[in-house]
Amino acid sequence: MSTVIAQTTQVYAVYIKATPEQIWDAITTPEFTERYFHGVRMEIRDGRRWSTLGELAWDEQVLELEPPHRLVHAWTSGYDDELAAEEPSRVTWTIEPQDNGTSLLTVVHDRLEGAPKTAASVFGIGWMFVLSNLKTLLETGEPL
């Protein structure tokens, strides 16, 4: 990567041959998320996003929930003690239908000023591995 310092507002976009509903299911259903999100099971329930990875468990506040187009939640890196000690940041998922059965999924990870180690950890290929994997799973039925 040519950029050394991780940005405090990070924007990622991927076009997926899938409906907004299919993408929404893939980002809110634990059976789906564990197949592409580093094995983490994620579920939206009672105004929070609940994550589990093996014996680890953490949860974040859901700020906006508009299926199947918009999900905004706080982000805490519960999978790593050092990152988890940083201030919460924010993740916004936006799903927009395009032509030909394709949708545009945009992820904005911002409010990272108080979480520099998290910012560096998720920057660039961090998020793009997750989004690449999600796209492959939806288009081929198998993750990368």
């Binding site: 976009a13 076009y15 041959k17 030909n100 591995f129 492959t136």
Partner: protein, 143 residues
Amino acid sequence: MSTMATAQTTQVYSIFIKASPEQIWEAITTPAFTQKYFYGVPVAITSETFDGGASAQGAVVEFDPPHRLVHSWRALYDTETAAEPESRVTWEIAVQDGGVSLLTVVHDRLDESPKTAESVAGGWSYILSGLKSVLETGEGLAG
């Protein structure tokens, strides 16, 4: 992207693809392939030139198959972008585990070319998403 008030003068895009570096290299440099994901444009790339017909043109400055390609970029599809100075595009392909490769595109030297910077900011994500679909499913996103 809509959340960015000003397009960046160094833009970095990356995507993981279930394909070998050789397959990705062929998809980038073969007109019959690029037509499926590069907005329908057949792009021919040799060690000398990046030839996108009336859409974009450039001179190849580094040609190291199947890992690295660097070329200048002038977008001709728009009279305003065509009038701006050349910018630069770098393609890097790095092999990963499990038959996966990481493709990174850096579009930089856009300081004097704000119209081009704005124009390509959304376009690269679309192109790389389409390239990945073609290689993994045999079909582009437009089909």
